[in-house]
């Protein structure tokens, strides 16, 4: 009889075993730490692992359960945190060499909630520098690698979050999403990514990129695990917080109307053919599951992208202006250049973009969500690109359909829906504000009806020589440089 590795248990299965005494949180945490030790040398998903603190927290979680003190859905469950969130007692770099060795004194609100709910924080996950742009190769640590093919990027900026889940290091992670930073890595890595409604989860204690667009998000191994994580951390005081995501799981799709925004991405010249066929197949599958599918039109994608670009760059420049003056030479070159381009924008430009965002939100609500319960569209228009495609002097933006819903604030869920050339493709579901539950209902039903999410990456990791052959020969890439030996804090 084969004994299942606890690190492969879904978090609801692990939670059940924790409560019936078949498994301890200490054993579960040890299994994940062992997995990280054995695999993360290839993925570089974690910037910092705090095994001692995790095991102490796991021991406390076990003791609490024995005493009948159940703190909730994540009690005793290991979680990874994107290194954009302050975490007391752990190094928090914001993905930048500027902050190597930085130790926050207080937790970000999302970290506080996870700890208060009994979650076990394993460590901090790689992020693009200040969650801005990547992958870049001029930091003291490498970008996370895609577990499906470690010579390819993960997407970002929640790069380590997606790599850790896809690589089997942890089942659920916290990320952030300002233009697709949870959803694109989820799609490229074949895992589930949820960007909740704007404001549903506090960003307090995260390094701000663009406060009008920043969202806490999560990346998990399945829709059920995403729903559990969401229910554990979502703001219960918010008036828009209606049905719990978990309560929607298992409900059939009969009677649901889903709008397929096919023309919104299908004519893009950058679209990979395999992505279109995977999305079309998903639309057919959802129809077979009982949903009524109709095509819908959305406003011009260029308008969403224009509004999003102006808001992000104007707000990011404001957030970084003083630090750019003091320490600009210590930013990654591409991040410096990207943020500094926002200096051409005025307060009037920002007000204009916010006004456009408001109009676009009203148009989506009026023309789409008055007719359908959810929207189906693409997330990324290609599969994960090789690192070698990012070695030029300028940042490269990959084609996606994600930023629109940072502009409008609608919740969006990415679910694996197939493969193209052996690499994952993810569909995107978008819902009414506050209705994450319907997205989880649809995503879970789809996931259960297909076997796509059961396919896991085989470990195909390049040697240092293979990494070098991609053109990335900067010191530190492919052989992790410990943060403790890098530049000190500013």
């Amino acid at each position: 009889m084969t004994v299942q590795d606890p690190a492969d248990l879904a978090i609801d299965e692990a939670a059940e075993r924790l409560r019936d005494g078949q498994l301890s949180s200490v054993a579960l945490t040890e299994a994940h730490l062992d997995r990280i030790a054995r695999r993360d040398g290839d993925y570089h998903a974690f910037l910092h692992v705090d095994a001692d603190a995790a095991l102490i927290a796991a021991g406390a979680a076990d003791k609490a359960l024995q005493q009948g003190d159940d703190l909730g859905l994540l009690h005793g469950i290991p979680v990874g945190i994107k290194d954009i969130f302050d975490t007391a007692g752990m190094p928090t770099t914001y993905g930048s060499g500027l902050y190597c060795g930085h130790m926050p004194e207080a937790d970000a609100e999302i970290v506080r909630r996870i700890r208060a709910g009994g979650g076990i924080i394993l460590g901090k996950l790689e992020t693009y520098e200040f969650a801005m742009v990547g992958p870049v190769f001029d930091r003291p640590f490498p970008p996370a690698a895609n577990p499906w093919d470690a010579s390819r990027f993960t997407g970002g900026s929640s790069s380590g979050s997606a790599a850790a889940v896809a690589g089997g290091l942890v089942r659920t992670t916290i990320g952030s999403d300002t233009g697709g930073s949870v959803r694109s890595p989820a799609a490229y890595c074949g895992v589930v990514g949820l960007k909740p409604t704007y404001g549903r989860i506090s960003m307090q204690g995260a390094y701000p990129l663009s406060p009008s667009m920043d969202h806490v998000g999560l990346i998990s191994a399945s829709v059920r695990e995403a729903a559990i994580t969401f229910d554990a951390i979502a703001d219960r005081q918010n008036e828009r917080a209606d049905a719990s995501a978990c309560s929607s799981l298992g409900q059939p799709l009969d009677g649901l109307r889903i709008g397929y925004a096919r023309a919104w991405f299908a004519n893009d010249q950058q679209l990979a053919p395999g992505v279109l066929s995977a999305l079309d197949d998903a639309a057919s599958q959802l129809s077979l599951l009982g949903a009524a599918i109709e095509t819908v039109a959305l406003p011009d994608v260029a308008l969403f992208e224009a509004a999003g670009a102006v808001i992000i760059h104007a707000e990011a420049f404001k957030a970084h202006r003083r630090q750019l003056a003091a320490s600009g030479s210590r930013y990654s070159a591409k991040v410096f250049q990207n943020i500094l381009s926002g200096l051409c924008l005025t307060d009037n430009d920002l007000a204009l973009a916010r006004k456009a965002a408001s109009v676009l939100r009203l148009q989506v609500d009026g023309t789409v969500f008055s007719r359908v319960d959810a929207l189906l569209t693409a997330s990324t228009l290609t599969t994960a690109l090789p690192f070698a495609d990012f070695t030029g002097e300028e940042a490269r933006w990959t084609p996606m359909r994600t930023i629109a819903f940072n502009v409008t604030g609608h919740p969006a869920l990415v679910v694996p829906c197939g493969f193209a050339d052996g690499l994952p493709v993810g569909l995107q579901l978008v819902g009414r504000a506050g209705d994450e539950a319907t997205l989880c209902r649809i995503g879970h039903c789809y996931e259960q009806a297909t076997d796509i999410s059961t396919v896991k990456p085989t470990r195909r990791c390049p040697t240092a020589g293979a990494a070098a052959s991609t053109g990335m020969q900067q010191p530190g890439f492919g052989w992790f440089t410990p943060l403790s030996s890098a530049a000190g804090p500013t």
Binding site: H313, N338, S341, C344, A353
Partner: protein, 63 residues
């Protein structure tokens, strides 16, 4: 590196002058991508101006 003369947005001198006021150093090596990024952002602003003007036909474009 792109010549600032080819761009419709701010010039290199303008970018360096504004950055200088904020005590941010823009080296020539970094200027090209910054200028191209700025040009794209100015194009985006113009696109949004047209969009808003279309929504409010009687209103003046937002400046």
């Amino acid at each position: 590196m792109v010549s600032d003369a080819t761009l419709g947005g701010p010039t290199l001198d303008q970018v360096q002058a504004k950055a200088g006021l904020l005590h941010i150093e823009v080296t020539p090596e970094r200027a090209g991508p910054i200028l191209r990024g700025a040009r794209h952002l100015r194009d985006a602003v113009e696109q949004l101006n047209r969009f808003i003007a279309d929504q409010e036909p009687s209103a003046e474009p937002h400046r």
